[in-house]
Assembly symmetry: C2
Homo-oligomer: 195 residues x 2
């Protein structure tokens, strides 16, 4: 992992991205033993229904906790994608919810997975889309270990939902593995033609 | 309110201070229309069971989201008080859980309220101590409106716990009013003898 690894989780309010940010931060900080800062910003713009959580993970103490140039952007709806794509590093990983994002940009490290559809149809609860997405994000980027993620998820979700959330994690990992296999023939990201 | 108002919520993991920070930030940002940043930091020290959430509230966009010199410190246990008291502004408000903090320091704006005892005995659920404390904090400092706080609490807590949490808010406001009356004969904080 790079010295400083920045992740932005964005979508509409109600998609559970604040909770997702906390889970990711706890997975990295408490279970993986990294330094982590997790920030949410709210302001007049938040009333428009946009929600974002930034997580910065580092091997060293973190001085500036806001995400400046994310290494990973998870966009759970079209609006948040349109808003934050410009901040993503050129060789950063873009992960979008294909259920809710219709215009997927031409980015060389984009992964489109129907998180909401998987959560609704496979898990039976659309509101677990955030957990499905977190699992896929960790599988695709290695941001935190899958063991740390599972421990952090189970520590934060309501009692009685452990099995549901384990299933959501498994669905996210499986979907990510599938897109990894599909794109394995493509050149790896961070190509020289990006400068 | 000052241009930049910083609040630190600290205690042990499991006291619900991360959630409290999110609720406070959403109350200020979404309901009161302020700019807010809410940060948690985790690191190797977090495994010792200390938990802290910083909330910065401003009328203007916030550049640096970490709390540097809190205007308010809520210390829900002795360890977090010992750890963070030095950061508090000299004329800042110190709010401690008198149930769990035995050594209350000689600070001229200290308020000691038995949040955990109130939550356990009056509300019947010790885990609502974080909500009792938030209500007292807002009553004592005016950091966010009580209306905004209630709306943010009800939007975040589990379904079916609205009445419980309304009772926790009322208990916190009432306890804070009582200590305000008791200390009304004392000179107001931020005295000239502090420099």
């Amino acid at each position: 992992m790079a010295e400083r690894f920045e992740i932005r989780l964005a979508g509409s309010g109600g998609q559970g991205l604040i909770l997702a940010g906390i889970i990711l931060a706890e997975a990295a900080g408490i279970y993986d033993g990294k330094f982590v800062c997790q920030t949410q910003s709210y302001g007049p713009e938040a009333r428009g229904g946009a929600s974002k959580a930034d997580v910065v993970i580092s091997d060293e103490e973190i001085d500036y906790p806001k995400s400046i140039r994310p290494d990973v952007l998870l966009a759970m709806n079209q609006k948040s994608l349109d808003l934050y794509l410009r901040d993503l590093k050129p060789d950063g990983v873009l992960l979008v919810d294909a259920t809710l994002v219709s215009e997927i940009p031409d980015h060389h490290r984009v992964f489109a997975i129907p998180f909401t559809e998987l959560a609704r149809d496979r898990i039976g609860k659309a509101m677990t889309a955030n957990i499905v997405a977190l699992a896929a994000l960790c599988q695709l980027t290695g941001a935190v270990s899958l063991e740390g993620l599972e421990a952090a998820v189970l520590a934060r979700v309501p009692r009685g939902t452990a099995e549901l959330n384990r299933a959501a994690l498994a669905a996210g990992v499986e979907a990510a593995r599938r897109v990894q296999e599909e794109t394995a023939h493509l050149p790896a990201g961070g190509g020289e033609d990006e400068t």
